[in-house]
Structure formats: C-alpha cells, structure tokens
C-alpha cells in the first residue's frame, strides 16, 4: 500500500504548496517556466494533472482532458504503480534515490516516459530538471506539511 494516492489531485496541490513555501530554496536553482503534465494511467483511464510553473512557484494544478494535456511542454507518463513506487522511494529516502530520479526514470522510459510533440518543449524537461526533481522531492516532507494545522 503506497503512502500516496497518485490519482488524487491533492497530492500535486500539496507538492505545489510545499514548493511555494520554499522560495529561498528554489531561488538557488533559479526561475523555471514550464507547463507540464503528470499522466497517471489507471486500468480504465489516464488522469492528466497539469502543473504550471512560473518563476519560483507552481502556480496552477488542474486535472485536464487529454486533448488539453497535449498542449503542455511535455508530459511524464506512467502507471499508478510506477508513480506510487517513485513517490514511495522519495518518501523513504527523503529525496529520490539513484534509479528513481525523474531523469533516470524518463531516460529508461520503461516505467515513466517523457513525451511531447515539440522538441523545444521536451527540452524544457532538461532545462528545468533540477527544479522538477526538487519539486518531487517535496514528497519526502509531505507528512510534515499535512500534519500542520
């Protein structure tokens, strides 16, 4: 049983909220401007959580239809199990360990792939990769955030 419900938008909203409270940390990495999608494949449908990053913040988290998701710079696509395993690794280690960084996963492409129609959009996955990784690593601290009143 995973610690996180990757099909629930609340997870992505919590990660965004965590990022938005850590501007000093993200300032070291610098501004990041991209629109990306976490595509979570369930047995009967794919959920597209679209996140809009602007400067040092994640400004919007929305569940969008597939045809809108295609307009993002890139999508990270994986099954519920793959996403859950990744977040569990982050939670267990306080940050992604070796093979579970988002770049490692997307590079191998067997569990989570990075997809998009525009090479320039896809390259934003590389341009803002450390910001995205630190955003995801926020899951290692979510119990603290969620326990706050």
């Amino acid at each position: 049983m995973s610690t996180f419900d990757v099909t629930n938008i609340k997870l992505y909203e919590d990660l965004a909220s965590h990022m938005n409270h850590q501007s000093e940390h993200f300032r070291i990495l610098g501004d990041a401007d991209m629109t990306m999608v976490f595509a979570v494949q369930t047995p009967d449908k794919t959920l597209h959580f679209q996140l809009v990053f602007s400067e040092l913040r994640c400004d919007a988290v929305d569940l969008v239809p597939a045809d809108e998701a295609h307009m993002a710079d890139f999508s990270l696509v994986g099954s519920v199990e793959s996403w859950s395993d990744m977040f569990d690794d982050i939670y267990a280690n306080g940050g992604a360990s070796g093979p579970w960084t988002i770049n490692s996963l997307a590079l191998r492409g067997d569990r989570i792939s990075c997809e998009g129609n525009d090479p320039m959009g896809l390259d934003k996955f590389s341009r803002f990769n450390q910001t995205l990784q630190d955003f995801l690593d926020g899951a290692g601290r979510l119990d603290l955030i969620r326990s706050q009143p």
Partner: protein, 374 residues
C-alpha cells in the same frame, strides 16, 4: 509665471551651464537639451523584475532586419558623427537572432550555479580503482571539449552587429556556462584520488571543424544543434553512468545549462532558414560533414569505452549491459538530434548518411517535429 515645459526647463539649465571646462575645453550639453531618440518610455517591471523583454518597448524593441551602422552605439540611441567601423560582418537579424533569445538570456542569468558551492564535494564516496579510472577518463574528455562551446561564440561575437545585442548577451552567458562546465568536470577528475587521463586526436578533429566553420550559421549548426545536442544527451545519461549522487548532480546541473544552448541553436537556425531560405543548403553541408565527425567522436576509444564501462557498472557486465546501453544511448542521441533538425526547419531525414536502421531510429516518430524524449 507660466510653468516651463520639461524641454524648456532643461534648455534653460543648459544655457546657464559653462561653455568651457576649467582647462579651456569646449563643453557640449546636447544630452540635456534632449535628442531625437525616444524619450519618456517607462517599461513596467514584470513580477520577476525588469527583464530584457520588458524593456524591448517602442523603438528600443525594434530589432532591424538589416543593421544600418557598424558601430557599438546602443540600439535606439541618437547617433551623430562618424564612428569607426567595428568590423561587423553579421549585419542581418537572420544571421544571429532567435525568437527565444531574450527569454533564454534571463533564464541563464536566473539559473547560474556554482561548481564550488553547489556540488557536495565532501560527499564523494571512495570508488573502486577501475571505476574511478573510468570516471576520470569521462571527465578528462568532457573537460577538454567544453571550452569549444566558449571559444566558438567568442570567435564570432565581435563580428556580430551591436544592434543584435541580446544575442551577444545570451552568448556571454553561454561562455560563462562553459567555463563552469570545464571547471566542474576538471574538479571532479581531480577530487577523488584520480586525475586527468587520455586526450587523443579523434575528439580534436570535431572541435577543429566546429571552430573553422566558414559562417556563423554553419558554426551554430555544428555546435549548438549537433555537438551540444549530443552532449546534452550525454549529460542526461549521467544518471546512468554516475557512480554516486555527486556526479549525478554535476550532470543534472550541467544538463540544464546545455539545454539552453541547444534551445538557442535550434531556434536560431529556424529563424535563419525562415528568413533566408538560401542558408538551408549551407547548413546541410555543414551537418553532412559534422555527422560524420560526430560518429567518429562517439566511437572515440577512450571516451566511448569509459562510458560503456560505467554504463555496465564495471568489467563484469560491460558486454551484456554496457555496450547494449551505449547503443541505446546513441539511438536517443540521434533521435533527439534529428527531431531538433525537424523543429529547426532543416529536415535531415532524406539527406543524412547516418545508418538510421542500424541505430534503430524510428523515422515516423521524428517526421514533422513529433518526438519523444525517452
């Protein structure tokens, strides 16, 4: 008494000011009386501050298709008198411009990092000697080739018309980035009980042909699109070859910078081809030659074998894991490169001599800019 206009007030001040310096030299207060250039602009800072895009307003934001002067006068200033010709030869916007260049400049400034401070050097683990040797060979080669991406812009920048200052400013950030890449790779080679290993000629011929390209657009095709695209993918693969989290972080940070350089090159070539279709053949010729050299570089005895060794995790799995992963890596690299060529408007699919079938490249995924990163 009627209130003076701003111009009248300034003119009145200028009239009262001395006409000579204490040393007897004539003084000119023309700047106080105003100039024909645009006055009174008030760009609004965006949320992140005052960006280069914010100040690209009115005539200041108008980038001429063909530069009229050859001086360093700032775009939008009032130019009087004969300034010496600075020797610019890139005097067309399509020679150097890309539509994302202001955005990339701001991004580069905002995302600078320090190889001294931001890498956890004291967390480097002791590695088995063979792995440390392979790591050091990879970083020896990387440290050697990084500076080409500083030397090349530097070679051309002083030839770029000053009306295209944003392109020059972006290239300044690239030069800083490459200095940091050279620094971080050299530091890694020297920091864990190893040192620099071999430099041999196959890498140098690619570097030399980039440096010797006849035009800037050919040079940028060879450097930004082909060479740096290839290196960007190597940095991405850093996740698979890095023996510890320290090298992983080095590769991820360098990857972010590298992707900006590739983004400039891709969009510059697109702008060049859209505005001057004749340059397409020139770009193709450069890439015909560059692809051949890159293939040679990819099989560089030292770099290639050290990469395969790390991909396999050492001696035991070099054949069943190292070499197959290296093939996979080349498929990634050439797929990304050919996709970027499509995006740049210089499709290589019908022209390239790369063995696409042998590399296992799915052309249907690339055609028409469609691609996947993984």
């Amino acid at each position: 008494m009627p209130k003076l206009t701003e111009a009248e007030s300034n003119n009145a001040i200028a009239d009262r000011l001395p006409a000579m310096t204490p040393m007897g030299q004539p003084l000119d207060w023309a700047w106080l009386r105003g100039a024909p250039s645009e006055w009174g602009v008030r760009p609004k800072p965006s949320a992140r501050g005052l960006t280069m895009s914010d100040i690209a307003i009115g005539t200041y934001g108008e980038v001429p298709e063909q530069a009229q002067r050859r001086s360093m006068a700032g775009r939008g200033s009032t130019v009087e008198g004969d300034a010496p010709d600075m020797g610019y030869i890139l005097n067309k916007k399509s020679d150097v411009w890309s539509d994302n260049v202001r955005e990339l400049y701001e991004e580069a400034v905002a995302r600078q990092w320090s190889a001294t401070r931001d890498i956890p050097w004291n967390e480097l683990p002791e590695l088995p000697s063979d792995i440390e040797h392979a790591v050091c060979q990879v970083f020896t080669t990387l440290a050697e080739i990084e500076m080409i991406a500083a030397d090349l812009p530097a070679k051309w920048m002083w030839r770029m018309n000053h009306d295209y200052l944003e392109a020059k400013m972006f290239l300044c950030t690239q030069i800083m980035d490459e200095a940091r890449h050279t620094e971080v790779f050299r530091k890694r080679a020297l920091s864990n009980g190893g040192g620099l290993l071999y430099s041999r000629s196959s890498g140098e011929s690619l570097l030399r042909s980039i440096l010797e390209a006849k035009t800037y657009t050919q040079a940028t095709a060879l450097l930004h699109l082909l060479g740096e695209g290839f290196i960007l993918d190597i940095f991405r693969m850093g996740e698979l070859i890095a023996p510890s989290h320290v090298e992983k972080k080095i590769f991820r940070m360098a990857m972010q910078d590298e992707a900006r350089h590739v983004a400039y090159g891709t969009m510059h070539l697109r702008y060049a081809v859209e505005n001057d279709p004749d340059v397409a053949e020139e770009i193709h010729e450069a890439l015909d030659h560059g692809e051949l050299l890159l293939t040679t570089f990819g099989t560089n005895a030292d770099f290639g074998s050290a990469l395969a060794y790390l991909l396999g995790g050492g001696e035991e799995h070099i054949e069943d894991k190292g070499f197959p992963l290296q093939m996979e890596m080349q498929r990634h690299q050439f797929t990304s490169y050919l996709s970027r060529c499509e995006r740049a408007g210089i499709s290589r699919l019908e022209r390239t001599k790369l063995p696409l079938d042998l590399l296992g490249i799915d052309v249907s995924k690339i055609r028409g800019t469609s691609a996947t990163a993984a």
